[in-house]
Structure formats: structure tokens, C-alpha cells
């Protein structure tokens, strides 16, 4: 499971970084999304990996914490997802506006001179 998760994070982040370096704003936004997914999975893994363990302890009394997954990274991921979703949506609007004003989807607002 560690390997699968590590590969998933690596592939997502690697593709994200590659797309981030591309000149088209569409590639940029997809790259940012993929990077955000990779980072979110990474945060998740920082609470250590548990299989089939509930993140919340039952009410009353103290229980063996090893039987439960760490709930904090899950809360962090939730916040991070919401924030990156909102900022990406905002970015999308700016991207469309840039396309409208400059007439091209190049991130510099003009095509490179050949």
C-alpha cells in the first residue's frame, strides 16, 4: 500500500510540475490541480497509513489509539481541498478573462515570436 500511495503521489506531483512549466494557461490550471491532488494525498499519508480504521473515537472512555486512524490529517486535507478548489475556481475566471482580453491562451498574453 505504501508503494501504491507513493507512486500515486509521485506521478500526480510529477505531472503537475511538468504541466506547470507549460506555456498554455489550460495546462497550467490542470497542472495546479494535479499538484494539489498530490499534495493532499501527501498530507493524508503524514497521519500514517491505516487500513480499515475509523478516524473518530467513540464517545466516553479512552480507547486504544492504535485501532483508529489519525483524524487530524483528514481534517487538514478537507480544509486544503476546499481552499485549493476555491482558489482554482478563481484562477479559472482570471484565465478566461485573460483569454478574452489577449485573444490567446498563452500565459504571457502573446504568442512567442518565431
Amino acid at each position: 500500500m505504501e508503494l501504491v500511495l507513493a507512486l500515486a503521489i509521485g506521478v500526480l506531483t510529477g505531472s503537475g510540475v511538468w504541466l506547470l512549466m507549460r506555456p498554455r494557461s489550460y495546462q497550467l490550471i490542470i497542472g495546479l490541480c494535479l499538484l494539489a491532488y498530490g499534495v493532499n494525498l501527501f498530507i493524508f499519508s503524514m497521519g500514517r497509513l491505516y487500513v480499515g480504521a475509523a478516524p473518530i473515537m467513540p464517545k466516553g472512555g479512552f480507547v486504544d489509539p492504535t485501532a483508529y486512524a489519525d483524524p487530524l490529517p483528514q481534517a487538514l486535507v478537507l480544509t486544503a481541498i476546499v481552499i485549493s478548489f476555491a482558489t482554482t475556481a478563481l484562477f479559472l475566471v482570471v484565465m478566461i478573462a485573460a483569454r478574452g482580453t489577449s485573444g490567446t491562451d498563452h500565459v504571457d498574453g502573446k504568442e512567442r515570436e518565431q
Binding site: 506547470l20 494557461s25 497550467l28 495546479l32 499538484l35 494539489a36 499534495v39 493532499n40 501527501f42 498530507i43 499519508s45 503524514m46 497521519g47 500514517r48 473515537m57 479512552f62 486504544d64 489509539p65 492504535t66 483508529y68 489519525d70 487530524l72 490529517p73 487538514l76 480544509t79 486544503a80 481552499i83 485549493s84 476555491a86 482558489t87 482554482t88 478563481l90 484562477f91 482570471v94 484565465m95 478573462a97 485573460a98 482580453t101 489577449s102 500565459v107 504571457d108 498574453g109
Partner: protein, 569 residues
């Protein structure tokens, strides 16, 4: 203030702007005058709260009491729940942001707030984010406030629209989104290694880390460093700043001047609290990077300000120089440079932020109607910029001085010229203005405490001293060259400048003047702040001391990797 009663004043600088911004959304956006009044009232209330907090922090230290005051959001026990922490540094920074708000708002009233939607709401949300970043004591909460601040800044940067602004905004948002992801990676690694996100608790648990975890923690510090250095505009992460600030409308740029300081604040806080003198094997981690980055940032800013023809972009480079100056000082102090150097740097930070804010406000009026510049060979104007200056202020019909005799135009023009000269002198570090006082205090602290050192540090200090003076000289040359050409070699009629555009600049200049006259008081406050920053145990124990009282609470699962045997009640 009783120890049991929470000091609710601490959350006021976050709540006031946030509530004010939210209430404004209920009004029609065309009702800008109401929103302006509400914004000014909110800025005034924030100022009152900030001065109360500042007095609190100062009085507590003077009595020798614990220097940090806690505010537990949600009233959870301390290392578990999120806390707001007030100490001298955060009180000072909140005060600074409160002081910069009103001038930018008044300036916006001259017409800029009518150029787009919801300027006033976004402005208040930006302030809430900035103040929250200064006050929070939790790393993830810091991320959230950072995002509040950044989301508002995206809107406010794009305020007024236009092709150039959108293009610069696209870059600005992309850079900041990527930096935020770095921030998240760093936060996750910190949690993975130390099992906590409370800044004071991180510092405490750092001592227990084994070698492998410490390496990971250093990686986390590196990731966080990249995020904050991007925000603080350190070379080579600063190329986004001049275009973004140059394209933003003047009131937006004026309030965004505080945003680079948020990055600096976090670097200062984390590097001295977590990686400071008492951190054992991690002590001084990253100090060399801060120093070298800072020195290169200063050089880059100095070259940039001479090279760029546009006045607003010069403002961006001034912000970079100011960041680099403080950053290098933080690096030196982390490596053991002494409290006097840091005190001077903090004083310089306050003064230069106010001056840069004023500079962004004055840059647009003095460049307005720039017909002569187009004929001048070494003042090439970029197309979108000249389009931008053609927009004359509108919205509020405050002062219409076309009907007035030419003399009254000359008066406002002359006022602007004098203000420009004063701000230039301040930014260049000429006596007796605070730029000089701050740099002098830094140089003196540097020489007094480090005279007998050997190794690479003295060489770096000499380079720093030289760059402090050279960057000032570069700023002076660049600004005076512009000033001469604009104010003295001008034949045509003076452009229209509204009273609402002169007043905020005068307000900020008054603040700078106050910093000059009361330099002694501010400097001694800054020195004591520096001293408290250099003994991180005070902050750490101040935050965690309150945790002792809740030991009766059921044991919490701090660290999932601890063996379960220890967790049995």
C-alpha cells in the same frame, strides 16, 4: 486583566475587518460612499484594538510578567486546539497593518474604488487575513489565514481590470497557488515528524526527534521556507513582484505592501522560535540561506530599481530591497548576530513598509499626464501603462479643480513634489528620516556585537554593510533622476491632483515623521521585541504553561507512532 478571563481583545483585529467586509456585501455595490465610511470606521476600530493590544504587550513585559497572551479559539486545551498568541512582535505588526489601512482607503475614495466590484469588502478581508497571520500560533491556521489574505489579494490586485492587470494577475495567482502547495507539503511534514502544529509545541518536540525524523523536519523547514520566501519576495523567488505590484491599482498596491512583510514575519517567527538559539542540533538551520538570499535580494533590487523606467515598478523593487534587508538581518541574528541588529531591522521594517505604501500612492499621481516622458528617450513607456494613466479619477465628485485658478493646481503639485522628495529620502536612507535611523541602528548593532568574530560571518557582515549603503544609493539615484525630470524639467501645466490623493500621502508621511521624532521609543520597543524573540523559551513556555492546567483532561493521541503501552490511562 484576570488570568482566567480570556482577553477577547486579541481576536478583535481579525473579527472587525471580517465582519465589516461581510456587512458591506449586503449593500448595493454602487453605494460606495457608505462602504467607504464603514471601511474607515472598521479601520479606526482595528487601530483602537491594535493600540490596546500594543499597550497590553508592552505593559506585560515592563512588569516582567509572561510576555505572551493566549486566546484559545474554541477553548480547547492548548497543544490540541488552535490558539491566537499575542506577543510584542505580533502586536507591532498588527499595529502596522492597522495604520496602513486608512490612507489606502482614503486614496481609493478619490475614484479607484469605483473601478470595479467589491473593493471595500476585499480590502477588509485582506486585512483580516493579514492580522490573522500575525496573531495565530498554529501552523495550519496560519495557512488558512494566508489563503484568506491571498484570495482577497487576488481580487484586489485585479481590481480595475484591464489587459495588463489580468496578465500580471494570472502570473501572480499561479505563483501563489504553487507556493501555497509548498506550504501544505511543509505543514504535512511538520505534522508527520513532530505530531503537532502548534508553533510552540513544535519547538518543544523538536528536541525529541531522532536523526531520521530531524532530517525530515529540516526538509519541512525547507519547504516552508520556499513558501514564505516567495511571499517575502526573496531572490530568486521575487520576479513576480514588480509586475504584479506595478499593475495593481495604487490603493491595492499600497495595502499589498504589508503582504511581503507577512512572509518576513513568519520567517522571523519560525526561524527564531523553532530553529533559533535553543534548538540543539537544528539551531541555525537555514541561516546561511537567509543571509545569502537576502544579500542577493538586495543586490537584485538595487539593480532593478536603476534599470526599470516605470515609477510604479521602482516601487516593487523598493519592496524587494526592503525585504532583502530585513531577511539578511534575520539570517545574521539566527546565526548569532545579536538583538541590537534585529531591533534595528524591525524599526527599519516598520518605517520602510510605511514609506513603500506611501510610494505606491504617490507614484500614480506624479506620473499622470506624462506627455513629456514620451518624448524623453530614456523614459520609454509601455503601452498598457500609458493607457492606464489616462483614466482620470471618477466616482466621488469631491474636488473638481478644473474650474479653479492654475495656482491651486500648482499648490497640490508642489505638495506632491515635496512629498516625493521626502519619501525618496526616507527610502534611500538619508538622515534624519527613519530609513537612516534604522540602517544606522542595524550597522551599529552589527559592529558592536560582532567585532571580534572570525570565520565567514564578518565577511558577510561587511558585504551586508556595503549593500545597505549601496542599495540606498541606488534608490536615491533612481528616484532623484525621476524627480528631477518630472518636477524641474517640466514645462507644461501641472496635472490635476485631488485633495483625496494628497491627504493619504500626508498621513503616511506624518507617520514617518512621528517615527523620526519618537525614534527613541520605537527603537527601544523594537530592541526589547528582538530580545524576547532571541529567548524563544519565553514564548514556548508562555504558550505551553497554560497547557499545564488541563492535564486532568483525558490523554490525547498526540503522536500516532508512540507505542500504545504508554498511552494506557
Amino acid at each position: 486583566m484576570s488570568a482566567d478571563l480570556p482577553n477577547h481583545m486579541i481576536i478583535a483585529p481579525i473579527l472587525i475587518p471580517m465582519v465589516a467586509g461581510a456587512i458591506m456585501l449586503f449593500y448595493n455595490d454602487r453605494d460606495r460612499q457608505t462602504k467607504l465610511v464603514m471601511g474607515l470606521v472598521a479601520a479606526g476600530l482595528t487601530f483602537l484594538a491594535a493600540s490596546e493590544l500594543l499597550a497590553d504587550a508592552k505593559a506585560l513585559t515592563d512588569q516582567g510578567a509572561p510576555v505572551v497572551t493566549l486566546y484559545r479559539l474554541g477553548d480547547w486545551p492548548v497543544p490540541i486546539g488552535i490558539v491566537l498568541v499575542l506577543d510584542r512582535l505580533s502586536a507591532m505588526m498588527v499595529m502596522l497593518s492597522a495604520l496602513l489601512a486608512a490612507p489606502a482607503l482614503i486614496y481609493a475614495a478619490a475614484g479607484w474604488h469605483g473601478k470595479g466590484q467589491h473593493f471595500h469588502s476585499m480590502f477588509q478581508f485582506l486585512l483580516a487575513g493579514v492580522n490573522g497571520s500575525f496573531l495565530t500560533g498554529d501552523l495550519f491556521n496560519l495557512f488558512v489565514f494566508f489563503e484568506v489574505m491571498l484570495a482577497a489579494s487576488y481580487g484586489i490586485m485585479l481590481h480595475g481590470s484591464g489587459a495588463e492587470r489580468i496578465r500580471a494577475g494570472l502570473h501572480y495567482i499561479a505563483i501563489n497557488l504553487a507556493a501555497s502547495l509548498f506550504f501544505l507539503i511543509g505543514v504535512a511534514l511538520v505534522y508527520g515528524t513532530t505530531g503537532t502544529l502548534n508553533m510552540a509545541d513544535i519547538a518543544r518536540r523538536l528536541a525529541d526527534l531522532d536523526e531520521a525524523q530531524r532530517l525530515l523536519f529540516h526538509a519541512a523547514a525547507g519547504f516552508l521556507g520556499v513558501a514564505f520566501l516567495t511571499k517575502a519576495a526573496a531572490w530568486p523567488l521575487c520576479f513576480w513582484l514588480p509586475p504584479a505590484y506595478g499593475a495593481a491599482s495604487p490603493p491595492a498596491a499600497a495595502i499589498m505592501a504589508i503582504m511581503t512583510k507577512v512572509g518576513l514575519y513568519v520567517i522571523l517567527r519560525m526561524s527564531l522560535l523553532v530553529l533559533g538559539p535553543e534548538a540543539g542540533p537544528s539551531s541555525g538551520f537555514g541561516a546561511a540561506v537567509l543571509m545569502i538570499c537576502g544579500l542577493l535580494t538586495m543586490s537584485f533590487g538595487a539593480v532593478g530599481i536603476l534599470a526599470t523606467p516605470q515609477l510604479v515598478r521602482k516601487g516593487g523593487y523598493l519592496a524587494i530591497i526592503s525585504s532583502g534587508t530585513v531577511l539578511t538581518a534575520i539570517g545574521f541574528v539566527q546565526a548569532g548576530g545579536g538583538a541590537d541588529l534585529l531591533g534595528g531591522a524591525l524599526y527599519y521594517l516598520i518605517a520602510s513598509t510605511a514609506a513603500i505604501s506611501a510610494f505606491f500612492l504617490i507614484a500614480e499621481p506624479v506620473s499622470r499626464d506624462d506627455e513629456t516622458a514620451e518624448q524623453s528617450p530614456d523614459q520609454p513607456r509601455l503601452e498598457p501603462a500609458s493607457e492606464r494613466w489616462e483614466w482620470t479619477p471618477m466616482g466621488l465628485d469631491t474636488v473638481d479643480d478644473t474650474a479653479l485658478p492654475a495656482s491651486s493646481r500648482t499648490v497640490s503639485w508642489l505638495t506632491m513634489a515635496i512629498c516625493f522628495a521626502l519619501i525618496s529620502a526616507m527610502l534611500a536612507g538619508l538622515p534624519p528620516l527613519p530609513g537612516f535611523i534604522g540602517k544606522f541602528a542595524m550597522l551599529r548593532g552589527m559592529i558592536d556585537t560582532n567585532i571580534g568574530l572570525s570565520g565567514a560571518l564578518p565577511t558577510m557582515l561587511w558585504i551586508y554593510a556595503a549593500l545597505l549603503i549601496l542599495s540606498g544609493l541606488a534608490a536615491l539615484i533612481a528616484l532623484i533622476r525621476f524627480g528631477l525630470r518630472r518636477f524641474w524639467a517640466e514645462a507644461g501645466p501641472s496635472p490635476r491632483i485631488l485633495a483625496l490623493e494628497v491627504v493619504p500621502v500626508l498621513l503616511l508621511l506624518g507617520m514617518i515623521l512621528l517615527l523620526t521624532v519618537r525614534a527613541d521609543a520605537v527603537l527601544s520597543y523594537a530592541r526589547e521585541t528582538a530580545q524576547s524573540l532571541l529567548s524563544p523559551a519565553v514564548y514556548r513556555e508562555g504558550v505551553l504553561a497554560h497547557a499545564a492546567r488541563v492535564d486532568a483532561a483525558p490523554p490525547q493521541n498526540h503522536a500516532p507512532y508512540e507505542p500504545p503501552a504508554e498511552e494506557e490511562p
